[in-house]
């Protein structure tokens, strides 16, 4: 399933709060849900990671396949993965 990518999915977006952030390219305040622009740079998130496996019949939850927990530890698509050593882009 694909969802529309917005400013808050972009690496150039510095979130100020849950509704808005500053674009590092333009220095302008942008709404978090504004549509992506030509400078869009995909932000690492679980949703974009090969190690994320979505739970069937839900768009909200899944597991991290790289976790060593038994069963695998949960993950969710919107989690930012900039600092995750195991992030592997889809």
């Amino acid at each position: 399933m694909t969802t529309k990518l917005t400013c808050r999915d972009c690496r150039n977006f510095a979130p100020v709060d849950v509704t808005k952030g500053i674009c590092h390219c333009t220095k302008e305040m942008m709404k978090a849900d504004d549509e992506q622009c030509k400078d869009f740079n995909l932000l690492p998130k679980c949703n974009n990671c090969k190690n994320f496996e979505r739970t069937p019949d839900t768009i909200e939850m899944g597991i991290c396949k790289i976790s060593t927990h038994e069963p695998k530890f949960f993950a969710y698509p919107d989690m930012v993965a900039v600092t995750c050593d195991h992030y592997t882009a889809n």
Binding site: A14, V16, D17, V18, S67, V82, T83
Partner: protein
């Protein structure tokens, strides 16, 4: 139209004129002093002003994921592994224009829940976890706690944002993760485990009744287990992260497997040092991640100036991830980083930076002397520091963040006081700190002036200028009182007079034990002060005196709910002495049960959730190899008993004593009937005003109560330098203060009194029926502990000071007196001098604390009607400064109602 109380009184010839010493001018009066910050800071502040408090799951997700992986590990090491994982995975966010950087979470005002402490309070109200929290009383205060609906507060869900815990916004995309994390901690959190074991305390039902009926509204063990203390930045400044890592590894090797004469805790040192190493490694990765982000932005940036600034930030953070600060800029970034690390490790309010101008002075002095920095550049950095500290939010329940904190986190900076060898401690950087508080007026850090007769006159007068901006700081605390209290409470733990001189304010008004450490910079040695004690305002907190009186009058029942709280006393209360004796008995019963249950909660906290980072920062954990849970801190007797509603209770006792027992003009039964019937008025909730004067008569009110209500209102009141009421305060203090030492904390130290209301006089007043002093149901109590009830201090401000100083303030950790003054009353240099004279008079009488709201009440009324025009209006509440629009209505109403002094 129903009549308001003030109209009823005017008809009877009684004025509710809350102005004292004259009349304020017509029209709105602005404050006299107003300045702007540097342009860079102004731009960042503009962002802050538009920012919503926002929360995400990043820290709790990685903490939980790591913690659950190591269920067979030694608890302290397991905890440290989780802390390291959480810090290592925080997403760095840097904004254009910043010179100082790093933040709690990936937002301007970011925070996050800590479900390992408590997981029920932020669930949906219909969720079984929330219902369970209500039943046990841990969420009862949430229902009586109000947030302001403006500013950064997210009080309602909208669009893709869900409001959580009454204040924080979270993206809908994160909510399933939040719920999953919460469910993971069910039965394992401090709240749940603590509840399991606290029920084993005999008479536990009394504790739940106290919480459910809001006689008490704060269980510190699972809400804010740390804080109201002074942090210590010494070790990172003296050694740097790598230096500390090397030290911890060396000490670990030295103690591995050795008991060294301590058969119980000696060998624990190995695990404790291992935990410290993990904590330091987490910090190192966190700082390095910010350095990498700065370098990434440097690569992206096309603007030459901004590119250079990103480069400098990157270089500084790369340096600080390993080494100790080289200059003022490094040192300021370091103390900010360490501060954020401290408040991220646990749910914390009131982690005060302490006397930072004395801590940073070595760097300032050497940089200024060598020309590495100018005073203007220092000012710009200090202004930005205020922005960074004001952005610190604490995620906790609505009852705690709204009902207690009013959204503030009390990162208080202390100024003044004495040096190690007894000279005044004021330095040039302290002047700049006050100046930056004038040019960048923000709620935090608020300033606490440790007033000593040795402080320079021009420094004190600069403080007056700052007060005249209306920001509410600096508050004045009596340095000699503070030192005396330190020696009384911590003398048993070996505190010396030199150490007592290092004390500072933790939280908004909690006197906290500190010590001196030798900092070395370029071959010169400086002794700098820093915290050396455990958290304060832990133990028995916010116990409402008016509610205890209610239980005395109604034979053990809560007046609002009629639920049984205490065993019935079955006394006829035929004399005042009998009533007073029973008041003390119920008070002691409440304190005893709350002390025991809080000990158990904190014991659960220290067994699984002990501070790692917070511990190694504090002397003498590193040297001893013991963390907070094993009393590695130098001073551990920090638990206290905190009263609320002192003056409302004193006035009520005065009314009963005068009307029932002295004059015999009313019977106790008739007075109780009138109180129960709210003297014929609607409740404050029905009227939606929490100020006494705005209360409305009921249409069906019996006519007989008016006379009795007037008698109650006109009975002797505290704050007029009249002995009848003041004697009751004296009697209370002479009972309460020594009584606290009858209760023992889990660290086996005697407790002591704490007397500040923070915001609880609003929330707890909301849950209290009318009181015999004439206060009506649901209205706020008198704020603080030494403030008069609004409108009842009729003999001028010096009479108020005399009433407040009737008892020995050195018996208590604090006391609190708030005074509202119209700006015209202290205009010009003469006005500043008069204000300083007033403060000095109170200090010389032995008062501990005084602070001021310099504001025109008409402005506050206009701000309540038109909040959109007052986003940046700040007021002093009870020990802290906050944006008007972020304060709940009960406290707003109380601030408006406070007596306004038109002349002093």
């Amino acid at each position: 139209m129903p009549k308001k109380l003030k109209e009823v009184l005017v008809e009877s010839g009684i004025s509710m004129d809350f102005e004292s010493g004259g009349h304020s001018p017509a029209g709105l009066t602005a404050r006299e002093v107003n300045r702007e910050p540097h342009l860079r800071v102004k731009k960042l502040k503009d962002i802050f002003m538009q920012t919503l408090s926002s929360a995400n799951n990043e820290f709790p997700y990685w903490y939980t994921r790591e913690y659950m992986l190591h269920d067979t590990e030694i608890p302290v090491v397991r905890r440290a592994m989780a802390v390291k994982a959480a810090f290592s995975h925080l997403t760095p966010v840097i904004y254009p224009g910043e010179l100082l950087t790093m933040r709690k979470a990936a937002f301007f005002r970011g925070s996050f829940p800590m479900p390992w402490l408590s997981e029920g309070y932020y669930m949906a109200k219909e969720d079984e976890l929330y219902q369970e929290a209500l039943k046990r009383g841990s969420a009862s205060a949430d229902q009586y706690s109000k947030f302001g609906t403006g500013g950064g507060n997210v009080t309602k869900s909208f669009g893709k944002v869900v409001a959580i815990a009454g204040k924080f916004g979270m993206r809908t995309e994160e909510v399933p993760g939040l719920l999953k994390l919460a469910k993971t901690w069910v039965g394992k959190s401090v709240d749940d485990l603590g509840h399991k074991y606290e029920q084993m305390v005999p008479d536990y039902a009394v504790k739940e009744a106290l919480m459910r009926n809001i006689l008490c509204m704060f269980d510190s063990g699972y809400t804010l287990p740390l804080g109201r203390e002074v942090i210590n930045y010494y070790y990172p400044l003296e050694y740097g992260i790598d230096g500390l890592l090397a030290m911890a590894k060396e000490l670990k090797n030295a103690v591995a497997g050795r008991a060294d004469g301590d058969g119980i805790k000696g060998t624990n040192r190995l695990f404790n040092y291992e935990a410290i190493i993990l904590g330091l490694e987490g910090l190192k990765i966190w700082i390095s991640n910010y350095a990498k982000e700065a370098r990434r932005l440097e690569g992206l940036e096309t603007n030459v100036v901004q590119k250079k600034e990103y480069s400098e930030i990157g270089e500084r953070l790369e340096w600080l991830s390993a080494s100790k600060p080289r200059d003022f800029r490094d040192a300021l970034q370091m103390i900010l980083t360490i501060h954020l690390a401290s408040v991220n490790e646990d749910a914390i309010s009131g982690m005060s930076p302490g006397r930072i101008a004395q801590v940073l002075f070595p760097y300032f002095e050497q940089d200024i002397a060598s020309g590495r920095i100018s005073e203007d550049e220092v000012m710009e950095l200090l202004e930005q520091y205020r922005l960074a500290i004001s952005s610190i939010d604490c995620f906790a329940s609505a009852g705690v963040v709204g009902g207690v904190l009013s959204g503030n986190t009390f990162n208080t900076v202390s100024i003044g006081g004495l040096t190690k060898d007894g000279k005044h401690a004021c330095n040039r950087l302290e002047y700049l700190l006050i100046e930056s508080g004038i040019s960048n007026q923000m709620p935090q850090p608020t300033l606490a002036m440790l007033y000593d007769e040795k402080l320079p006159e021009d420094f004190l007068l600069l403080g007056m200028e700052c007060i005249k901006t209306g920001v509410g700081y600096p508050a004045f605390m009596n340095n000699q009182n503070g030192m005396t209290f330190m020696m009384k409470q911590y003398g048993d733990e070996g505190m010396t007079v030199e150490e007592a001189r290092a004390w500072a304010i933790g939280g908004c008004l909690e006197s906290s034990p500190c010590c001196w450490k030798p900092l070395h910079l370029n071959g010169k040695e400086y002794f700098i002060p820093g915290g050396a004690g455990q958290p304060t305002s832990v133990g028995v907190h916010f116990l409402a005196m008016p509610k205890i009186l209610e239980c005395v009058l109604w034979n053990g029942l809560d007046g609002r709910t009629s639920e049984k709280v205490f065993e019935p006393h079955n006394l006829k209360l035929e004399t005042y002495d009998e009533l007073w004796a029973q008041f003390k008995k119920y008070w002691q019963k409440a304190v005893d049960i709350l002390a025991l249950t809080n000990n158990i909660q904190h014991d659960v906290w220290r067994k699984n959730n002990m501070g790692i980072i917070n511990s190694f920062l504090k002397p003498d954990c590193l040297e001893k190899g013991h963390l907070i849970d094993e009393m590695g801190y130098r001073f551990n007797g920090t638990f206290s008993v905190e009263s609320v509603g002192t003056i409302t209770a004193v006035n009520s006792l005065a009314a009963i004593k005068k009307l029932v027992y002295t004059d015999k003009s009313v019977t106790l039964d008739d007075l109780k009937k009138a109180v129960r019937d709210n003297f014929g008025f609607k409740t404050a909730q029905e009227v939606n005003s929490f100020s006494l004067s705005d209360q409305e008569k009921r249409e069906d009110a019996p006519s007989g109560w008016d006379k009795m209500h007037f008698m109650c209102l006109q009975a002797p009141k505290y704050g007029n330098d009249e002995f009848f009421a003041d004697e009751i305060l004296l009697e209370w203090e002479n009972f309460f203060c020594p009584d606290c030492s009858n209760y023992e904390s889990l660290y086996a130290h005697k407790m002591y009194p704490c007397q500040i209301s923070v915001s609880t006089h609003g929330a707890m007043g909301s849950a209290t029926i009318a009181t015999p002093d004439g206060r009506l149901a649901g209205t706020t109590y008198a704020d603080a502990s030494m403030s008069a009830f609004p409108g009842t201090d009729r003999n001028g401000v010096y009479a108020l000071l005399s009433s407040a100083a009737i008892w020995d303030h050195t018996m208590s950790q604090n006391s609190q007196l708030n005074v509202k003054i119209h700006p015209t009353a202290i205009q010009g240099p003469t006005g500043s001098r008069k204000l300083l004279d007033l403060i000095q008079a109170y200090m010389r009488k032995g008062g501990f604390h005084i602070q001021f709201n310099v504001v025109d009440t008409k402005v506050l009324k206009d701000a309540q009607k038109n909040p959109q025009n007052y986003r940046d209006l700040m007021v002093r509440v009870a020990g802290f400064t906050q944006y008007w629009v972020e304060i709940g209505k009960p406290v707003q109403d109380e601030l408006i109602a406070r007596t306004e002094y038109e002349g002093i």
